[in-house]
Amino acid sequence: MNTSEIWKETAAIESAIGGMACRLVRRLERCGFQDPAMIGIHTGGVWIAERLHTLLGLPEPLGHLDISFYRDDFTRIGVHPQVRPSHLPVRVDDRHLILVDDVLQTGRTVRAALNVLFDYGRPASVTLAVLVVRDGRELPIAADVVGFEGFFGAEDQIKLSGPTPLVLLRTRREARR
């Protein structure tokens, strides 16, 4: 049996996203990244990206990325059952992109997402914004803009539930596999 508890409530998440938006704007200015386009990773990343997209008032529509076809565990678990088509309404060539995800743990999702992006074109830069950065990194990938940070241990899973209301759940997996 797995047990779930709420780690962050909706209000805390919404305010963290507000903070992320401010830091994102400052970072883009500091780096001189003008006219950025935003892309969310399915599914939780899109929920965060929708809010950031509104807060930043970006003129172009939000892109959606499904990384199922780029996962590195295909030979172990086969095709992912629920694939949504990726939808990139903007051309990525020479653009400054903001990539948004809900939880950064191993880094494998972001690795796959970068591969997807580069199959659409050659962006000028990619900035990574993540709601929760946690322990468990297996690849040299770091977020540029972060909502929460936490250390949980391998048996704890952090999952975003949404799209409304957004709640972060912490689930303890029993040791048995």
Binding site: F69, R76, G78, P85, H87, D119
Partner: protein, 327 residues
Amino acid sequence: MGSSLPNPQLDAQGRLRHFLTIEGLSRDLLIELLDQAEGFLGVAQQAVKKVPLCRGKVVANLFFETSTRTRTTFELAAKRLSADVLNLNISTSATAKGESLLDTLRNLEAMHVDMFVVRHAAGGAAHFMAAHAAPHVSIINAGDGRHAHPTQALLDMFTIRRHKGDFSRLRVAIVGDILHSRVARSQMLALKTLGVPDIRVIAPRTLLPAKVEEAFGVKAYHELAEGIRDVDVIIMLRLQRERYRGALLPSEHEYFQLFGLTEGRMGAAKPDVIVMHPGPINRGVEMDSAVADGAHSVILEQVTNGIAVRMAVIAMCLGNQRRADEL
């Protein structure tokens, strides 16, 4: 057909390992394949029209019968999944089909091929290969005799779903040489499995299999105008000239007069009817050029959809292979 036998296409967990026929596949599995194909459709929009899913896998196209469309779309599908593709065009030899087929299989298995896409003039060829294939190898049926052409049927279902959405209220007519058509058999099974309530087959009596109504749960018509009344989908079949001579049909001209689809005759169907054809079209035999190229025709879309659907089938079978060994 015995229902007590395990389905040769599925592994012990009920997952797709080979794709040989629509028969015996559940509605859920067909829907899962259609949903997967929906995702693969977007790959053609990328600048790099490829995903790395099946990188390092080897797919061999083993065509004992000629084909352009099916072979090239299978090849493209495998390549868009980043698999390596071998194309082997083997002309049918009359000698010892079983033996030579098995030898071909053994030799290619020794080259570490992961999947065979097989087309053969003999019904059951793909099943035969699946029965003898090594545990790490998948077989896809790309058409066997008059028996089955399941990926064609699946891409047709995909095309119908993209236009009509829900299968449960549709009237679908299949027109033409049902008797010799593996496509028609697979389509009838797929339409039935997906819950289409009104499936019609329209053909001269000489081109309908005996007891088609009982065997497939369809309604047979011998007049085009009556058969296509109020249908949502018309599927035209190719007149397979190479499979018979003279006896079954007086002439192609007469066939067109009675069963050829023209814009005028299409008026009996629903105003938003879609017209499909698995290709290649005999213009002026099965249908008028005006229909083939007209606003209701989705024939070229079928070709595009065929790649995405075949990607879904290849990816699902290859993805299930490793899992099968681990258990």
